[in-house]
Amino acid sequence: MIPLLSVRDLVTTFHTSDGPVQAVRGVSFDLSAGETLAIVGESGSGKSVTATSLMNMVRAPGRIESGSITFKGVDVLAKSRDELRQMRGAAMSMIFQDPVAALDPLMRIRDQLGEAIRAHSAISASAANARAIELMHQVGIPDPEARLRDYPLAFSGGMSQRVMIAMALANDPEVIIADEPTTALDVTVQAQILDVLDTLNRDRGTAVILITHNLGVVAQLCQRVAVMYGGKIVETGPTAEVFANPQHPYTRDLLAATPKLSQPRDVPLVAISGRPPTMREPIIGCSYAPRDPLAVARCFVEAPALEPGEGARRHACWVSDGTTSLPPRPELGLEIDQAPRAAAPRGAALLQVADLTKQFDGPRARAFGRRQQVRAVDGVTFDVHQGETLGLVGESGCGKSTIAKLVLGVESPTGGSIRYAGQDSTVLSAAARRRYNRNVQIVFQNPMSALNPRRTVGSMLSEPLALQGMRGQELRDRRDALLELVGMDASIANRFPHEFSGGQRQRLVIARALAVDPQLIVCDEAVAALDVSLQAQIINLLKELQTRLGLSYLFIGHDLATVRHIADRIMVMYLGQIVEQGTAEQVTGNPQHPYTVSLLSAVPDPDPSALSRQRVILQGEVPTPLNPPSGCRFHTRCPIGPTMRTDREICRTEKPTADPEAEHGVACHFAGEFTLVGSGSSAPISADVPHGLGPVRQTTRKTLQ
């Protein structure tokens, strides 16, 4: 059978002013009609460039140098401009990573959809309008007639992505290329979008090529996977088989570096040392050999080709034989001891936060009227104890970053109190804040913007030391000790931040935070901007520093799997309030709040055994904090709330509270009613909920073939 799409030896190079960047270095794969294929890799692996190459729309200064792309028997690269135009959006279409940026902000949705329809078929405007309504309906946008008149600014990220999918579907394409379609979205919205893609693949037989860095997303949506590294596919095969028994060391390490909910939380994450190739120099031998401790001499001199293994599997590796499992990655000196921390006796409470509230000025309700108040944080109470890690999890806009700023002391709370080591630290004078910050420091999300591009590493680290009164040799010794502490060489003091990779930069940020010898570090999405392999390095470093220096962390994140891996206790936040808090085991193993349950079930897991796990797809999106729902703030989306059960008026009227003293506190009137059903179980989530109706959709993926 002729495959729908066939790519052979694709090479795409960017001819930049700093010399050529060989982004794609010989990629070959086939796609059958109706198939779902994932191309997975970290940043710089060439996966996105491969995607844009497929439709021959690589941006300047990029150019497809050689190879062939055959779509339905016709060479895409030989098509004329007009033939290409006719193919794009009709037979093959594409959706993008940032759906908000992919919609023209000045044009009504109706016109943008109509344009996509009418670019390929000569139909009347009213027929196009009818088709647009049908498409909007298909991708699950409520009230399509009205929404069509809106401008993109009225659409949230998730809704924008639905519009993009509707546009991609406009002409019944045979392939949709989805370039990181859920990366910019929250996890509950991600679940919705994956569901839309899954449905259109199953109902309409549209083939999907999914470009992603997220192994969990791959496992959830795609039958087949191609793993890219250094501009090449290093391994490909049925997703379940590849993930169960990886045959390329990179696949193996990537899987081992990914935090998984399906694993016990004390299974160590493998940190892959080194950094990916820059793609500027030619790669001799296997591109992964320098990072693989088990590489043999041949790996460094001769590039392995993609060899057939068992069944439909292929891998490019000299070490693997294609059948037996690869040995696990040996522990290197850098990848430190990962013995799970014994449930250490909780130290004294270091930070006591009570009833913390923060209001911001919002937009005016009416012209010249009073400004509305946004309660970003609304009555939050928690303690951080000596030597522990408290995780704070929530979706974007829930107020978790505001908590970081409040605890750090750079913002003042509107209400409530913050006590540090027994002392009131709620509102501080400049001098008192400086003293306070000797104890409380921060590690930011984006290591690039956290480092002043104008200053050397040395001067960045010296400043806080000098401000403490250190001088001369003492200062230099302390500076070098800090660098050593985070695993960097003291010789880098004269270099500038841009000379370092993301992971190294994050180490420098940590070193700076340690410069004042703090006791508590707020980690605000500290690993979210990093590739998986680097994430594991930083998480391991944070754990090591905690053991050596007795630090406490307030670890803020959006990814439950990651937070679970580092935190001793976890708080889950929704719209400015804590909905559930307890030990990491309790919150992730036995969640009691329906929001926590939904959040957990929405996290995609690469473990093939987790595929049969039930997923709760919350409908709708987080309401605006300008006008939060009354009573329980979650009631508008709650799978067991008043929208599902009319007798539960209490959720609308009465705000549930959790006992902050309890080891496991849940702010829900019906705590524990809605629980997570573990993998393997086939029991429905809640017997009362009718399938496929209301705010909840339950899906169980059939095992992949």
């Binding site: 959006g89 594409m94 993008f96 992919a102 023209d104 012209a367």
Partner: protein
């Protein structure tokens, strides 16, 4: 949109009010006694005092300001004592000429700037780009007094095809006045047109890289549709902002061009008033300049809002 318009008009009025205060009081900083200057070198104190009383210069400053502003609001602009004529009349004589000049120049600048900007924004050919960019930089940088003298040298003196100054038959015969308008309008239009072209091209190049353009290609839109419906509309807001500021430059340029080409407009009038220290005339004309600028700014803001729903919503 209505609320947006009301807000913009209101803020324009506030700027105007502040500007009137600034203009009125700052001109009082000038050393010397205007009454004494008016009376002449050998006038006695009584004459000077009489003039002072007649001008209301003996009143407290804020009262002077109030009566001045009140006069303007009721259409009484006062008299120029140097030229012994009502200021309203002086403006009435010269303003139409300036509007004719500035209007012609603005039209030329918009058309020329749009054409060059779009060529620069669309073209990917290096040769086209560098030639147009270089020409544009020159038009952008060369001051209008140099351009004006140069064009006079070439077209009036050397070629002798166009008149070197004046309005010719004047506004009574606009068609007949066009040869007279040509050189001044081109001189005045060049820097503004070049600025529009430059910002439009830069804005288009930025927009061309946006994701929604990439999405448009992926939809299968033709290049023409892509540019006409997506790239160009999205490129306009920054150009509008610049255009609003350029109006001020255009007014200043008009003053220079009126001098170069002996064009009897408001620019000449204001210069004359400054040189003869006719401060009553100066302050009215300055306020007029600020008013024109504020009106044009408000218009460009409204155009921006008409174009961009985000501006209407107050998001951008």
């Amino acid at each position: 949109m209505l609320i947006f318009t009301a807000k913009r008009v209101l803020s324009g009025l506030i700027v105007l009010l502040v500007a009137s205060v600034v203009i009125f009081f700052i001109l009082r900083l000038a050393p010397g006694d205007p009454a004494a200057a008016l009376a002449g070198a050998d006038a006695d104190q009584a004459t000077i005092d009489a003039i002072r009383t007649r001008l209301g210069l003996d009143l407290p400053l804020w009262q002077q300001y109030a009566s001045w502003l009140g006069g303007i609001l009721t259409g009484n602009l006062g008299d120029s004592f140097i030229l012994s004529a009502p200021i309203a009349e002086l403006i009435g004589d010269s303003l139409p000429n300036t509007v004719f000049l500035a209007g012609g120049a603005l039209l030329l600048a918009l058309v020329g700037g749009a054409v060059v900007g779009i060529v620069l924004g669309v073209s990917r050919r290096r040769a086209v780009n560098s030639v147009f960019t270089a020409a544009n930089s020159v038009a952008f940088a060369v001051p209008p007094y140099v351009t004006g003298v140069f064009l006079t040298l070439v077209f009036s003196i050397y070629l002798g095809v166009l008149p070197s100054g004046g309005v010719g038959p004047g506004l009574g015969d606009p068609v007949g006045a066009i040869p007279y308008l040509l050189l001044p309008a081109v001189t005045l239009a060049l820097p503004t047109g070049a600025t529009i072209a430059r910002f439009l091209a830069a804005s288009m190049r930025r927009q061309r890289e946006e994701d929604f353009v990439q999405a448009g290609i992926a939809k299968g839109l033709t290049t023409t549709t892509l540019f006409a419906r997506h790239v160009i509309p999205n490129s306009l807001p920054p150009v509008l902002t610049v255009l609003g500021i350029q109006i001020g430059q255009l007014l200043a340029g008009a003053i220079i061009v009126e001098v170069v080409f002996a064009w009897p407009g408001v620019g000449q009038l204001i210069l004359q008033s400054v040189i003869t220290r006719d401060y009553l005339l100066t302050q009215v004309l300055l306020l007029l300049a600020v008013a024109v600028f504020v009106v044009m700014q408000t218009l460009t803001d409204l155009a921006d809002a008409a174009l961009d729903p985000r501006v209407r919503m107050g998001i951008r």
